[in-house]
Structure formats: C-alpha cells, structure tokens
C-alpha cells in the first residue's frame, strides 16, 4: 500500500520535473540562440580594440602602442600628407555638436509651438514632416550640392552642419512634439496664473518635463553628425576640413595588405564618444524609434 503511494508520488514528482524542464526549454533555447548570434558581433568590436594594441595578425603576440602613434605623430598614409588627428577630431566634433545645436534648437521651439499653439496651417505644417521624412537622401544630395555651390558653402564644415542640422529637424520636431503633448494643461495654466510669461513658462515648466526627449534627440543628432560620411566625402575636398570618418574609409582600403592595425586603432579612437554615450545614455537609445 505504502509502496504504491510512494510510487505514485515518485511518478508525480517526475512529471513535475518533466513539466518544469519543458517550461524551461524556451529559456534555454533563447539563451543558446542569442549567445550564438551575439557573440560574433560582440567579438568584432572587442577584437577591434585588441588588434589595435597588437603587433599585426589576428592573435597579437605582443602588446604595443605602435598602431596608436598617430595620436602624437600624426597619420601618414599612402599618397597623403601627414594628417593631424586632433584637427580631424575637432572637425568631426564641430559637425556633431553643430548639427545637434541647430537641430535641437529648431526642433524644440517648433515642437513647443506646434503642440501648444493654435494657428492656421498648423496641421499642414505638421503633416509635411511625413514628406520630408520619406524623401530619399540620394535625391536630396544632388540638389544640396547645387545649393551649397550656389551659396558658396561647398568645401566648408558650415555647409555640412547646415544640411545635417536641417535634414534631421522634421523628425526631431515630431518626436519632441510628442513629449510636449504629454505635459498636462493644468501645469501650464498654473504657471500662467502665477504670472509667468510665456517664455518663463517654457523654461520653468515645460523644459524640465520634456528633458528626456531633449536628451534623446540631442543624442541622435550628435551620433548622426559624428558618423556622417557621405556628405563629407562629397562636399569636402580639402584635407584640412576632413573628418575621421573619411580617413577611416581611406585607411581600410590601404590597410588590407598591412594587417589592419592602424585602422583598428583609429576606429577605436573614433568610437570613444559613441561608447561613452552608449554606456551613459541607454535609456535614451532605447527610446529612439527613428
């Protein structure tokens, strides 16, 4: 009798275990699939850094700063004058910061007015963002070349900054408008009653509440300017106003025969601001749906 009970219990616990195991299957499968899929990607980035400190070859034998010598003695390459990396850095930074300031400034005020103002043509203005968003970059690029040439901004950083800053403005405006829409009307009224001017209301009531949105659009404007390659390669012919992206591009065609050490070092250097933002602004990164 008791042995029968025990048998039954055993059977039950076995079944429970099997059930739990089966429920655990998706978890295990997910972990395996994601590990197999993600490790190569992660390794690519890690190995970029490893190779940059190596002495050539896929598995470095010695640790060396040789590939990083461009930091103090400049970059010399095939058919190119010695380039000062700090000047390239300053140019990249100018484009990224310039784009962010222009874009966020324009978008912030426009988003506020479109969200809170009532004026004729508001709807048309808002919906025009759809057209500008869908317009292909390549089609705009040719006209942009003509316009820059006509106004004398070809081969200047300012030209690229203006194009990038305005180019991303529609989407940034649309996003920040969504944040303004969420600010409760009561707060706005309260501030008005407390005799705040419109501008004061904007800075004291709205700005703190839409700050996460401001962070998000600034981050993306910065990254987009920092990573820009096509416009710079097309609109800028002067080495003195070049950026790191163009140099990385030139380097990796030269470097294939020499073992990729220098291009890995320059790329790692180029990725540092991105990585800083990556580690400190993940929430904003996960928020951006553009």
């Amino acid at each position: 009798m008791s042995s029968l009970m025990m048998q039954r219990n055993e059977h039950k616990s076995l079944r429970n275990r099997a059930l739990r195991l089966r429920q655990g299957v998706p978890n295990v499968v997910s972990l395996v699939v994601m590990s197999v899929g993600s490790v190569p990607l992660l390794l690519m980035y890690v190995w970029m850094v490893v190779v940059s400190f190596g002495d050539g070859g896929l598995v470095p034998r010695h640790f060396t700063f040789q590939n990083w010598s461009f930091l103090w003695s400049g970059l010399s390459g095939v058919g190119r004058a010695n380039l000062n990396i700090w000047r390239l850095l300053a140019n990249s930074l100018a484009i990224a910061v310039g784009e962010a300031v222009l874009q966020v400034g324009g978008a912030l005020f426009a988003g506020y007015v479109i969200s809170r103002g009532r004026f004729p043509g508001r709807k048309v203005l808002l919906q025009s963002t759809l057209l500008t968003h869908a317009f292909p970059a390549i089609t705009g690029l040719i006209a942009a070349f003509y316009i820059l040439n006509a106004v004398g901004l070809i081969n200047t950083l300012a030209g690229v900054i203006l194009l990038k800053g305005f180019g991303g403005m529609p989407m940034a405006t649309w996003i920040i408008k969504g944040f303004f829409d969420d600010v409760p009307r009561e707060l706005e009224w309260a501030s008005k009653i407390d005799s705040g001017s419109r501008l004061k209301t904007f800075f004291h009531v709205f700005l703190p509440l839409v700050w996460p949105g401001v962070m998000a659009i600034s981050l993306f404007a910065f990254l987009s300017g920092w990573g820009e390659y096509v416009m710079i390669s097309v609109f800028i012919f002067d080495d003195r106003v070049n950026t790191i992206s163009v140099i990385v591009r030139n380097l990796y065609s030269d470097e294939a025969a020499r073992g990729f050490g220098v291009v890995m070092a320059v790329s790692t250097f180029y990725m540092i601001p991105c990585l800083i933002l990556y580690f400190f602004a993940q929430k904003s990164l996960l928020k951006m749906k553009i």
């Binding site: 896929l58 007015v113 025009s128 968003h133 869908a134 089609t139 690029l141 003509y146 969504g178």
Partner: protein, 284 residues
C-alpha cells in the same frame, strides 16, 4: 520660434525637390550650366545597359535585407523580453545589439571589410587557413551582393529590436498567464497572441525599412562600392555614382527622381490606410 522649422519645410525642402526635378531635365555637369534637353536623360535610362541589373539588385537587396532585419530583430526582441528568465541576460543581449546603432557606418563597413577581406589578414581567411589550410578567398568580389545584404540586414536589425521589444513589453502580462493556464503551446502563444499584438509595429517597420532600404546606398558604397562590375550596385547607388563619380548631375538626378513615384505610392497608400499619427510612429 517656428522660423527654422518652417524654413526647412517650406523653403529648403521645396527648393530641393524642385531643383532636383529640374536638373533631371538638363545635361548639367560640374560647370552647373542649365542646358535643358527635355526627356533625354530618361530615354538614356531606358537604354542604360547596367540599369536592368541594378533594378534586380535593388529588389533583391531590399527584400532580403528586410527579411533579415525583421526576422532577426523579432528573434532578439522575443527571446530577450519574453523567454529569458533572467532579465539581466535579456538586457545584456539587447545591449550588444545596440552597438551597431551607435557605431558610425564607416566603422561597421570597416569591420565587415576586415572579416571578409581578400588578404591573408582577413578574419575569415585567417580562420579558414588555420582550420583547413585554405588559400585566401576574395569573399567581397565573389559574393558582393550577399555580403552587402548581410551587413545591412544584421547591423540594421537593432531598429527592429528596439521597436518590437518595447511593443512586447507593453503587452499585458496576464494574457500570457491565461494562455499558459489554458495549456497553449509556445508556438500558439507566438502565433495567436504575440503576432496579433505586434501587427502595427511590424507593419510600421515594413513600410519605413522598405522605403529606407529601397533608397539606401551608404553601406554598399562603403563595402563594395557597387562592384565588381555592378554586381552589388543598387538604384540609389547608381544615381550617386552617375552624379558624383562621372559628374553627370543631369543623369544622376533623373535616375534618383525615378525613385520618387514608388515612394509617393507607398506613402500615399499607407497614409490613407493608417493615418498620419500612426504612420509617423505616434510621436515618442
């Protein structure tokens, strides 16, 4: 306060669109002279021997890249938000897949070039030599379109992941408990619960990623530059090459303008179907 934005929407944008359409009717080159020649550029496009292959490449590239982006992005979102018991692990894997989103395109293309480089320093060639003693293979010239699809598809799946993860996370958890109690299989849960909830985000992604793949050229320009012999050249890249390599702005504009009707149809159709707010991703 509205000035810069209005200037962009009503002056820059309209000027850009008008200019490029006008230029497509001219034989403009680097001297920027307006010598109108009617439909000559468009007739030239009909006779362009490369354009047939370019069109096929564009369709193949768009469809395959989209499939990879959607499928892999969906797998990442599903596994890391729904199936992994440990939330930490889920966040960790999503973090890894955010890396391509913050890297400059040049760095992504550089990494891809390094992996598939034809030289002995290429990762794949080094590994194959080590394991099987293979001689270096020029991967990039042998499989140019395939490697471009992999680059754009895999590195581009972060966007799908971001959108779908947050969509899955916003599904009410009790639906899953009810489904489990009712004994639904995992497949049934995905098919009848998750997918219906993701219907809109998936449609949204297909529309925008489809449009952006159709007109994309930057990653291809950086990886194989359309070569060898146009084997990885897409429509937008062809326009880019014509305009900025041969400096035939008229012809380049004409090719790029031919993309506009396709985009207009997609945009107008989806606008009618879904409305402006949904189509723009509902703001935030």
């Amino acid at each position: 306060m509205l000035a810069p934005f209005m200037f962009n929407q009503y002056v820059i944008f309209i000027a850009t669109a008008a200019l490029v359409i006008l230029i497509s009717f001219t034989g403009m080159d680097s001297a920027f002279r307006w010598n109108f020649r009617g439909l000559l550029n468009f007739r030239k496009a009909l006779n362009d021997p490369a354009l047939g292959m370019v069109a096929v490449n564009t369709v193949v590239f768009t469809v395959c890249t989209m499939l990879i982006k959607m499928a892999w992005g969906f797998v990442i979102a599903l596994t890391t938000t729904l199936y992994m018991r440990s939330q930490r692990a889920g966040v960790f894997f999503r973090m890894i897949w955010l890396l391509p989103r913050i890297s400059p395109t040049v760095v992504e293309a550089m990494l891809w070039t390094w992996v598939f480089s034809s030289s002995e320093y290429g990762v794949l060639n080094s590994v194959m030599h080590l394991l099987y003693g293979w001689e270096p293979v020029p991967w990039l010239t042998q499989y140019p379109l395939l490697l471009n699809i992999l680059l754009a598809g895999i590195m581009g799946s972060s966007f799908t992941m971001v959108v779908l993860s947050s969509a899955i996370q916003s599904i009410n958890k009790s639906y899953f408990y009810v489904a489990k109690v009712d004994g639904a299989s995992e497949m049934a849960i995905i098919k009848d619960l998750v997918i219906p909830f993701l219907k809109w985000p998936l449609t949204f992604l297909v529309i925008w990623q489809g449009l952006s793949m159709l007109t994309s050229y930057e990653t291809i320009l950086l990886l194989t530059d359309g070569g060898p012999m146009y084997r990885s050249e897409t429509w937008a890249l062809h326009a880019f090459h014509k305009a900025f390599s041969t400096l035939d702005f008229g012809y380049g504009s004409a090719i790029s303008v031919l993309l506009l009707p396709v985009i207009a149809v997609v945009v107008v159709f989806s606008y009618r179907m879904f409305g402006f707010n949904k189509l723009m991703g509902g703001g935030k």
